[in-house]
Symmetry: C2
DNA sequence: TATTGTTATACTCTATAACTATA
DNA sequence: TATAGTTATAGAGTATAACAATA
């Protein structure tokens, strides 16, 4: 006889730390997406803008590699940032195949505002974490993907 | 004069803990996906199978809510598990609109094997973490999405 | 020959609306 | 009226192949 199940448990999945990680990241991602959306940016275009402001003159292929996305998928992201007058493609005299990506003053200003908005959103999500724990975790997590 | 950029940095993005989290999760996800792929499962179908084994008889709508996915997207996942003879849809006498999801013996066995494979993959990725730190992090991360 | 940016395309994931059969 | 499962579909995100211009 098959009975309805009243209370659902997920003990077998909670065994996996990646499960906690995934759901935690989903919350951070949602919070950040909402903040950036108000500034007309997506997470990926914010990342691209930040990298261009920090590394003015880098090429699209360099940016794609740094962001771990395909060159082909970066094109529309750069198009969008350029259409919003946040960056522009400049000719590289040393290599006429490539573009040097340069931030505008508007792009620099928005990168600062967006960076603070993201930091605020993260602070709200991780507010109950001990700041010392965060600083302990940062290098530990970074080691995971840097090897 | 525009010069090529030699060394790319990402200091402005590393400021954000979510950035570390995202990349760390990407690595775990890749490792888990590769393991599960060898068992003919995706991450989402493994999650569904595990939940059905742990909660035999639950309805699709209950499972969709637990996994935080849409009912409509669960259909093909359940179809796949059923085609592989890992679970089956049984009629619920108490509600003829709904199906009770029941694991087969094969499904129960695969859930155990897959669970161990996922645990092994995670251990490889988080191997350099102090086990005590993991246990400290688990409830902290879980609190993020349980509120 | 190889690389850069680009276009086209396909595949996955996810979200929404609408339908049927039941409640 | 509302709910469970289903179908169709549209929108993101992502990966691959091929091309023109240049190295």
């Amino acid at each position: 006889m098959i009975e309805p199940v009243e209370q659902i448990t997920d003990k077998s999945l909670r065994r996996h730390f990646g499960y906690s990680l995934k759901r935690a990241y989903a919350r951070v991602h949602t919070a950040i997406t909402e903040e950036l959306n108000q500034l007309g940016l997506k997470v990926i275009s914010y990342s691209a803008l930040s990298m261009i402001v920090e590394n003015p003159g880098l090429k699209q292929s360099q940016l794609a590699e740094a962001l771990m996305i395909e060159r082909s998928n970066l094109v529309v992201i750069i198009d969008d940032l350029e259409n919003k007058n946040l960056i522009y493609r400049a000719q590289l005299p040393s290599d006429r195949r490539a573009y040097a990506l340069i931030p505008t003053d508007e792009g620099k200003a928005l990168a600062v505002r967006a960076g603070d908005a993201v930091a605020d959103a993260e602070a709200a999500v991780f507010g109950h974490f001990d700041p010392a724990l965060i600083e302990q975790l940062r290098p530990a997590f970074d080691r995971i993907w840097s090897r």
